[in-house]
Amino acid sequence: MSERVGAAASGLGRPAVDAGRRGEPPPSAPHERADQPAEAAAVAGPAPPRSLPRRRPVRATGRLWGIRTPVPRGARWTLMALSVTVPLVGWQVLSIVIDGRPDYLPGPVDAVSAGVEMARSGQLLTDAWATVARVLQGFGLAVLVSVPLGILMGSFPAGQALLEPLVGLLRYLPASAFIPLLIIWLGLGEPSKVALLFLAAFFFNTLMTADAVRQVPLSLVDVSYTLGARRGEVLRKVIVPYALPGMIDSIRVNAAASWSFVVVAELIASESGLGYRIVRAQRFNQIDRIFAVLVVIALIGLTIDLLLRLTRDRVGRWV
């Protein structure tokens, strides 16, 4: 009883406020106050203040730009199409407008025809494979090492205490700052590139895997012990399956980083790969070829992302 009086008195009870506006006392208040006069009087003064201006009701749904409101299908497809075509058309128009120097800015049509020419000679495929192979080795190695370490860090506070200070510090050293060292130690060949890709993904993937593992509710671990599971079984049968979608998410994010680092590595020193092809084209001022390679880099990156996203959705169907 006294709770309701309290709510009305503090202005939270909407009906009471409305009644008050019409100049009537709140319907139930008088006799409740009579029940417990001391308590009611203690809550607030004689009457709650009632003079708040009312704002016009907001239209939260049924508009295209409503916050977190679904968009009709047709509108969605239109927006997605615009997102691709507007920049593409803009690029083509710009390339026509800026025609002062020949080949200064080739348009998308020029880039595609240069790409087709490079693909015909088989050069593009060789370069693309060289680059992909480096990512598979360097990033693959990083995943192989960082996932077990991340599970160790996320599952055991002791593991976290042991590894977090070091890993947390090292991740702030940009991988690209290691390039000179790697070249001195490992030379200009493949090992230095694989090592760079490893460094670029290893620290972040370890920390992000540990984070995914820490999302496992403690109650799930506890209940597993009461069902007879041993520590190793809890890791294999509870922690890993629960954290798997999160671990794949982490791999996806870091795969994108690796994909840009491999091109950086190839720009600096290499004899094959998409980055190398860009440097070659620059030397001969073949700007259309640079654009062709950029498009290929984007498409392969998108494919990697898509594959990992599909894997994640398949593995995480239960989420």
Binding site: S219, Y225, T226, W318
Partner: protein, 259 residues
């Protein structure tokens, strides 16, 4: 026989340890259904995690059939308030979890899982994932999963606390039936006095700060409990008695809280 002997638990805090439980003595004969009620701060959940072996007591010990409890195990099945079911496993694979850890032939395991699914009314849902289940269904999965390990004692930590009133009553009838069918000992912690009196053969009231046994009351109600039992004068009287006790300790606890 489950025995709690001068059980105490302290948690280290800045400014000195806080006593969650002190000198709790309680023995539960095999097959008994005991409900522990208490206000917040009475250490109800601490009590259960000590029996489960998930925490170590500061003083005293828990014994099951005379053997001191040193860690968690399938002889003491546990059901949490929020189910804690494995979200990536189907209903039947959740129930099978404990059995998969044992050297059981597949057919035997499936036979057992099928029995507990039927017992808890989950047979039709056996291929469903937890995200497709309601809160009550998820709790049934957790109960079936614990029972499938054939525990000596089933520990229930506010298992129906997050359910709506109607589902809660269904679950109360279900747990009574399952208890009668399996003959397992049940130790249930709840803050819902009505639930405690309706379900238990015995109601243990905990006092707060530190948690200790304030009263240990037998419930004199028919063994076959329909929901209509909740309207019997005996039931109402017992409920009122326990409510008064819990309320007293709740008030004292509130007064001690720093504002």
């Amino acid at each position: 026989m489950l025995e709690l002997a001068s059980l105490g638990k302290e948690f280290p805090r800045r400014g000195g340890p806080v006593k969650a439980l002190e000198g709790v003595d309680l023995s539960v004969p095999d097959g008994q259904f005991v409900c522990v009620v208490g206000a917040s701060g009475s250490g109800k959940s601490t009590l259960l995690s000590l029996v489960a072996g998930l925490a170590r007591p500061t003083t005293g010990e828990v014994r099951l059939d005379g053997v001191p409890v040193t860690g968690p195990g399938p002889d003491r099945g546990l059901v949490f308030q929020q189910g804690a079911v494995y979200p990536w496993r189907t209903v039947e694979r959740n129930v099978a979890f404990g059995l998969e850890l044992l050297p059981l032939p597949r057919a035997e395991r499936e036979r057992r899982v099928a029995w507990y699914l039927a017992e808890t009314g989950l047979t039709a849902l056996r291929h469903a994932l937890p995200k497709q289940l309601s809160g009550g269904q998820r709790q049934r999965v957790a109960i079936a999963r614990a029972l499938a390990c054939e525990p000596e004692v089933l520990l229930l930590d506010e298992p129906f606390g997050a359910l709506d009133v109607q589902t809660k009553e269904d679950m109360q009838l279900l747990i009574r039936r399952v208890w009668q069918d399996t003959g397992t000992t049940v130790l249930m912690v709840t803050h819902d006095v009505e639930e405690a009196v309706f379900l238990g053969q015995r109601v243990v009231v905990l006092a707060s700060d530190p948690g200790r046994v304030a009263a240990d009351l037998p419930v004199n109600l028919p063994a076959e409990r329909e929901l209509s039992v909740k309207r019997l004068p005996d039931f109402l009287a017992m409920r009122a008695q326990v409510e008064d006790l819990v309320r007293t300790y709740h008030r004292r606890h509130q007064e001690k809280q720093p504002v």
